[in-house]
Symmetry: C2
Amino acid sequence: MATIKDIAKKMNLGVSTVSMALNNNPRISQATRQEVMRVANEMGYVKNWLAADLQGGRNNLILVIVDDASRPYFSRFIDIVQNRIAYHGFDLLISTTFNNHLDTAKRYLSQNRGAGAIVFTMQIDDDFINKCANDEFPIYVFGREVVGNENVYCQKEVSYYLSGYLSTNYLIEQGFKRIAYVRQVLSTLGTPRRFEGYLKALAENNIAFDEGLVFDVNRDNGKNIYDNGYMVTEEIIKNIQDKKIDAVFYSNDSLALGGLKCFSDAAVKVPEDISVIGYGDLPYSRFLSPTLSTVGSPDYASVYNYGVDTLVKAINNEDTSSVDEDYRELLLNAREIVYERGSVRRK
Amino acid sequence: MATIKDIAKKMNLGVSTVSMALNNNPRISQATRQEVMRVANEMGYVKNWLAADLQGGRNNLILVIVDDASRPYFSRFIDIVQNRIAYHGFDLLISTTFNNHLDTAKRYLSQNRGAGAIVFTMQIDDDFINKCANDEFPIYVFGREVVGNENVYCQKEVSYYLSGYLSTNYLIEQGFKRIAYVRQVLSTLGTPRRFEGYLKALAENNIAFDEGLVFDVNRDNGKNIYDNGYMVTEEIIKNIQDKKIDAVFYSNDSLALGGLKCFSDAAVKVPEDISVIGYGDLPYSRFLSPTLSTVGSPDYASVYNYGVDTLVKAINNEDTSSVDEDYRELLLNAREIVYERGSVRRK
DNA sequence: TTGAAAGCGCTACCAA
DNA sequence: TTGGTAGCGCTTTCAA
């Protein structure tokens, strides 16, 4: 592979001249520059960005670690984040923690492979994140609060618990009292927070919490999320009579999709026999039959963009604290709402 | 950020000693090694992989360029590819070409940002790919055949046309003759190939091709794929009577999902009034109501893995031609089949 | 307008 | 077992 040295030698020029010419430095004459470009092109020269970045002490990669790229939830996240990162002139190195990739992701993080990182998974614990972050490698964490390292940024006062509260409250308003809760373990912290919201809504409405109405989904069984939703729903169906279940709150839309199918197969009519609500407002949720009622934010983009902006500020050693006020307003606009659709009826 | 130089100075050791100790080189005594590790840890040392890679002349990144990471089709692809790439000890740099990211992706490619690249999008044309590939930067292309550069590898004799053929033939076998074809423009080459299969099946069964049965979907309208499926289906519904349409072949499952919803809203019963088949066997397709009949491969993983393996061989300057026989067998096993589900009836 | 040389942080060779 | 030094390919400073 040709290097600038080769070009310099061939043209009887200094390497610095070639370098400058290639970088459109105005100190090099038009004629020389064009000639260098021509020869470089002819020799198939490709700049070695490793060397350039090393020299410059820069590195325009941002590491993004998500749980499972194949879930629509994360797809949306990645799409928005990629846009914003590109807007700031950085590039994206994506790593997942789902299948067997956890080690790779942790390695990346501990190797500081990038100018900074964004972490959106529960598979990597707070301690590890705190250990990896430093002045030159700030980390932004979505979905939970991590404290203890000033180079770790996160969503403060995340209103996730609201979502569980909203859905449950909504179901109660529609007249339901025996609401099953499908909880996914090892998800982002959103899940436990949503569960808190569920409890809170029950308490406020003087409905006794029944442990037997909580159904856990464990994704470590190698099945996909839809199968898991289906399987947990089989359990629910077994208990419908006994426990008088009249509504189900799935902690995400993908689980709910599997659940809808299971109900359909078992001839349990949604929403006539049982009402169903999901969480996350995935792109396909309004195309299902029945359309899936869910809770989501009308403006995920703002929250995600805000995270990227904060990280970029940290990378550039700019002040990150001043934006807290903007953040508050942002959260207000991005506050989650109930999307009323066809899978919940009025009891 | 501490460097090995700093550690060496602090410990009164040579930089090479520190480097070797950090790399577990057996030439360094156990005692020294452990002490170096301890101090490195204490100083918060993080290896600069840019420098290491530059020195070693290596680079363990593989660039993966896909159309739109948010489509399940690509999620599955990325998941499989990531697994295999990790297995070979390489890392993954993902870039998309959908939103406004095309330029970034092309820049990566022309900058040879990695030890090699995998391209799975139609947005980058053959010429560009051929121009970017070279001895030190082989490219593997999925979904189409690119010729003209020995460093560009691709799926030869891709059997995509078969899939259009299979679905159409299947519909004809079930008794349908007026089969609408929903074609997505600017997709991978699979779409045009599938269209050829559609034509072939019609011809073999002596069914005249009717241009009016082809409905194009253009994704450049900013809508998501489900909306596009919905919208094109509105067009189809307008023509059902006139053109006596009795079945629809959507060129991918996501479009079909939008379509199913549209039919449902318009009280057109699937499969009673019209049969629907998709393509790609997405994870959620068997959870829809009705379950979506589709054509897919029982073994995408093999095909994708094979591509990765070939690329890695090329990167390591190993012989890539010898595996052609394995490939043939692989294609045989991965041959696409019809998944008969609920959205097609027997006429 | 051009070029020599230093140096980014690391590894590897060869010498001690 | 340890260390000095060259050099990966590039950019940048300073001098010519």
